[in-house]
């Protein structure tokens, strides 16, 4: 009896969706540890496959002569683009990749909401108006914002667009107006105005502009927050589409993504001691423009530059060395060279640890992926709270392409734009060596007093080259 009900098609398909979202949750819970994570990812992928097959088995989904071909076309195009991209992307380019994936997800949601709207308006179902209008409008707005915002974020990370904040005069006022247009039009539509086809395009368009305007003024250093936030937005819009389409797998899947994005957004914002609204309202832009009161570079005294050979000597005779990597390591693709240096130092009996700031790099966990790629054992990696008490016991700290996350101004200079941000307290170690391309300040454009500290020495040059030079000098000793 139960078996027959279960196999009736509608129930069977709903049951498949339940299996699918259970596998999503179970798979994601595998991500709590590196050992179980690969399997967890596979389990989630199986869940996705089940959801897609169940959808294709739904009555009428494949009806019509061209429908199966068009569906196949979409699936083939998507695979043809997604697979090589995922196989070939460099680990250093992961932030761009994630931003782009976020964008296409948001774009898909916006398109689906648009079609949904067109279709149901034309068929004039009054039931639909009550039930699905609000989630569909929500999905249209958030999906469109996410699509355009993510593409801008991608452009900035890929350096197609300048990474520095781009601001228009009256930016927040314009954003406010656009937001009101989006929400206002949505309310008008839900209340049942006649020129509906136009309104939905207007909403998508205003949301697109808003997405552009919100992300353009955000500086490169705030990218971890932006990417997480867009991730959350895409997830929520997918969940809203799920409600509109009565699809439990979409509701649960979307909501998991929404939860994940929200958690990461909060973590990143906390790690920068900044509120999410402040970041969305416009980067470090305003703060850099007014450096008044903060001592200028010329007041700080000279910087001391050093040579690879000196660094090698210092490192080789240290008891404990901490390496603090940042975005510069990613840009220079220096992770493998860093691993070589770590091995060389360990061979000399030096204890090497890595200090990972939560917002080092351009996305959450960016440094961990790069170091994992280079085979650095993850028990050498220390989070900020663990490593900070160790700095006084550290002989030499090697800062590789990290700037703002090591900037003591965050602790000592209440006038600094990053004042209050928790940092890696590298200035408390015995000596600091900073690998830098040039004296240009970091992405946030904030001067770093660390460079002028008497116990700091700077080694200029490409990070990868510098690290390799140091390593060969260490071997030569």
């Amino acid at each position: 009896m139960i078996a027959t009900i279960f196999l009736q098609q509608a129930n069977f398909i709903d049951a498949c969706y339940i299996v699918a979202f259970s596998l999503f949750i179970y798979g994601m819970s595998g991500l709590t540890g590196p050992r179980t994570a690969v399997r967890g990812n596979m389990i989630a992928a199986v869940g996705m496959l089940i959801a897609i097959i169940a959808t294709l088995l739904t009555p009428h989904v494949l009806s019509g002569s061209s429908t199966p071909w068009l569906i196949a076309l979409g699936l083939v195009i998507g695979t043809a683009i997604g697979l090589p991209a995922a196989r070939n992307v460099k680990m250093t380019a992961m932030p761009q990749m994630v931003a782009l994936f976020n964008g296409v997800g948001g774009g898909a949601v916006a398109i689906i909401a648009w079609i949904e709207y067109r279709h149901h308006f034309q068929s004039g179902l009054s039931f639909w108006v009550e039930k699905s209008q609000i989630p569909t409008l929500f999905a249209a707005i958030v999906g469109s914002i996410s699509f355009w915002g993510s593409n801008i974020a991608f452009g900035k990370l890929q350096e197609i667009l300048p990474g520095r904040p781009i601001k228009l005069p009256g930016q927040s006022a314009i954003n406010g107006v656009l937001f009101v247009i989006c929400v206002g039009s949505a309310i008008v539509l839900a209340a049942g105005v006649h020129s509906q086809a136009l309104f939905i395009i207007g909403i998508l368009f205003a949301a697109a502009l808003l997405g552009n305007m919100v992300v353009l003024p955000i500086g490169g250093a705030d990218m971890p927050v932006v990417i997480s936030l867009l991730n959350a937005a895409t997830g929520l819009s997918a969940a809203a589409t799920g409600i509109a389409l009565n699809n439990t797998a979409m509701i649960v899947g979307g909501m998991i993504v929404g939860a994940s994005g929200s958690i990461l957004t909060n973590l990143m914002a906390k790690a920068m001691n900044r509120s999410v609204p402040a970041i969305v309202a416009g980067g470090f832009g305003g703060a850099i423009a007014a450096p008044a009161g903060a001592p200028g570079a010329e007041d700080r005294g000279p910087v001391r530059s050093t040579s690879a050979q000196d660094v090698a000597i210092q490192l080789s005779y240290a008891r404990q060395v901490v390496i603090a990597p940042g975005y510069g390591m990613a840009v220079a693709q220096a992770q493998h060279a860093v691993r070589e240096l770590e091995r060389a130092l360990e061979a000399k009996g030096v204890e090497v640890k890595f200090a990972i700031h939560p917002v080092a790099g351009r996305m959450p966990g960016h440094m961990n992926v790069l170091l994992a790629e280079a085979d650095v054992p993850y028990d050498l990696l220390r989070e900020m709270d663990e490593i900070n008490p160790e700095f006084p016991r550290t002989d030499v700290t090697l800062v590789i392409g990290a700037n703002d996350v090591t900037n003591p101004a965050a602790k000592n200079e209440p006038g600094s734009p990053i004042y209050g941000m928790p940092i890696l307290e590298v200035d408390r170690s015995g000596a600091v060596i900073v690998l830098k391309r040039s004296m240009a300040s970091g992405f946030a454009g904030i001067d770093n007093p660390l460079f002028y500290d008497p116990k700091t020495a700077l080694l200029f040059g490409d990070a990868k080259q510098s690290v390799s030079d140091i390593t060969s000098e260490v071997h030569a000793l």
Partner: protein, 108 residues
């Protein structure tokens, strides 16, 4: 299904999501993001469900794009996450043989 049931599912999913994801260590946050990218590819179902109801070239073309976008997410997301997570596994000597190709792609 009633709207209220769906909202109940939504709320419960939010709690489960927060519970599960907050246990993910910082180390794995990048794979977490790409993994959730793959999961929001679930929107592809929307494209699949609407295709047979579509009228005209515009709607069909848009839905093909939406399905392609969703598929990019699913395929790209799961594959790149798998690639990343494989690096986090502590490598004994065996997978070393499979690694060089990966390293070449990633560490140029």
């Amino acid at each position: 299904m009633t709207t209220i049931t769906e909202i109940a599912i939504l709320v419960l999913a939010a709690f489960v999501g927060f519970e599960v994801i907050s246990k993910v260590p910082n180390t794995l946050h990048t794979p977490l993001m790409s993994g959730t990218n793959a999961i929001h590819g679930i929107v592809v179902l929307g494209g699949l469900l609407l295709m047979h109801e579509a009228h005209g070239v515009l709607e069909h073309a848009l839905l093909v794009i939406a399905i392609a976008f969703g598929t990019i997410n699913i395929v790209g997301g799961f594959v790149v996450t798998d690639r990343m997570l494989a690096m986090f596994k502590r490598k004994p000597d065996l997978p070393e043989a499979a690694a060089p190709e990966e390293l070449e792609g990633g560490g140029k």
